[in-house]
């Protein structure tokens, strides 16, 4: 079941130059959500963002009926959303898509880059509730582009790479020492981020026969299977990333 609910923004916290966390309050009971699922958010008053914007569920608090979104400003739609002051109303269609599966092992690595870190917080919390301690590997261009590290650290260890070496390991996530081994100490990779990053991880996983669940950020018009705009080639032909994904087993994709 998917819903169309009006939320109130109770908090707009800027993280970095281009990242914002919005805390949204619903005035009823929230439906259950799975990490990796997303919302299609309506952007008002923006001629160049007529369609809704897909954004991952970054965090959920069922007691308070609050959702958090972590948004990176990349264009008019996200810029408009990030500028909304507390008190604004926001319409969400949610929860959409197929989220991450629970692992068949408790040795997991959650790898994020860019706004792809968004779903990993909710995923980490979810894993922890199932008795699995998440370990995060987060990549960014530079130290000041890293967001909400403290929130992730509350859940588990956080490894970091930066392209300029200003924090953690220098390079891309795939260059982190934790990856540089033929017998890695994890059996599942969960990832969300730039395609290039996820493809590198998928390749890594394939060679070592470990599971890699990737979350795609394909361009969407509807977000719920009505338009067929968001497809990705899979072993079964074109599949919609909005309903058959956004999370896929990397082996299922034509990567």
């Amino acid at each position: 079941m998917k819903y169309l609910h009006d939320f109130t923004i109770v908090n707009n916290e800027r993280q970095t130059d281009d990242f914002v966390v919005l805390t949204l309050q619903y005035d009823g009971a929230l439906p259950r959500m799975m990490p990796g699922q997303f919302a299609e958010v309506k952007v008002d008053h923006t001629p160049t963002a007529y369609l809704r914007r897909p954004l991952s569920i970054h965090d959920v608090n069922y007691e308070q009926n609050q959702i958090k979104l972590l948004i990176q400003e990349v264009g008019d739609g996200t810029r408009t959303l990030c500028a909304l002051p507390a008190g604004s109303r926001l319409n969400l269609m949610y929860p959409l898509g197929k989220g991450y599966d629970l692992p068949n092992s408790d040795k997991v690595l959650l790898v994020g880059g860019g706004c792809g870190v968004a779903p990993l917080l909710f995923l980490g919390r979810h894993l922890k509730q199932h008795g699995i301690t998440p370990r995060f590997l987060i990549g960014a261009r530079t130290a000041s582009a890293l967001v909400r590290l403290d929130a992730y650290r509350e859940l588990g260890e956080v490894l970091v790479t930066t392209e300029d070496g200003s924090m953690g390991q220098k390079g891309f996530v795939i260059h982190h020492p934790v990856m540089r081994t033929d017998s890695p100490d994890f059996d599942w990779i969960y990832t969300c981020g730039p395609d290039a990053m996820m493809k590198a991880l998928a390749k890594y996983a394939r060679h070592r026969d470990i599971t890699c669940q990737v979350s795609l950020e394909n361009r969407m018009a509807c977000g719920f299977g009505a338009c067929l705009c968001c497809v990705t080639p899979t072993q079964d032909g074109h599949k919609c990333t909005c309903v058959d994904g956004p999370v896929f087993d990397s082996k299922y994709l034509q990567w």
Binding site: M1, K2, Y3, L4, K42, P47, T48, A49, Y50, L51, R52, M93, N218, R219, M220, A221, C222, G223, F224, G225, A226, C227, L228, C229, C230, V231, T232, P233, G237, H238
Partner: protein, 304 residues
Amino acid sequence: MVDLSVKLGNITLKNPVMTASGTFGYGEEYADFIDIDALGGIVVKGTTLHPRQGNPYPRMAETPMGMLNAVGLQNKGVDGFIDDIYPRICHFNTAIFVNVSGSTIEEYVETAAKINELEHIPGIELNISCPNVKEGGMAFGTSCPSAVAVTKAVRDVYKKHLMVKLSPNVTDVTEIAKGVEGAGADSVSLINTLLGMAINAKTRRPELSTITGGLSGPCVKPVALRMVWQVSKSVKIPVVGMGGISSAEDAIEFLLAGASAIQIGTANFVDPKITVKVIEGISEYLQVNNINSARELTGALITD
């Protein structure tokens, strides 16, 4: 109470609000949001004789108050529709139209003939205007002789309501409308998408894998309204209007311009409840203006 029902030839719709092909899935996708049975009708996805994978990703780009799509008729083929989908949706208490496409006249005919057998499908919408496929598609709808030929051929095998969907990418849409009317169409619907293009200045690449795609959404409304007005003045069969409708006011404008019913496409993505809101808005408009029936709006534009 106002009477919202309208007639499309032999079919009576409970109200003038339908959904546009390719934007409403098979109806089911919207069942969490609205009561499908409240709609005047739905037009399901473009269906072809054989299954199609459609075009490569990316298939969508946003433009000012609109979008381009290049889905390219991805569908399971008519047999897939009949076996897998039809049984799931035939219970909807609304007029279900199947949008039929093809690369050759034979494909159109075979597909239509199969759908002719489905009890709960009162009509087809012949898509001779899809800009997103290499063969057939729009080519049929941009030349009058070929539009007439495909309509005639399908008319021979298809016994129920035959709606023909016109392309806006033509010099004179009335010529083609008159042609398909003469060839036996029961109604015409318009507009399909305008052929457009988007470029990413940063990457210096087209935004769509197919370079060009079909433009829809509020940005096309003025062109759509003009064509509906032109066509409704030149044919006697009912006209179904669409293109950018996203409010009851928009819908009423199309009715005034001459449409007997309307379809809503892209706006469903932004507000999946828009169809029922438009139905309510039309009802309110009729009440406020003391008009008894939605049918009275058709062509009621005052142009003295």
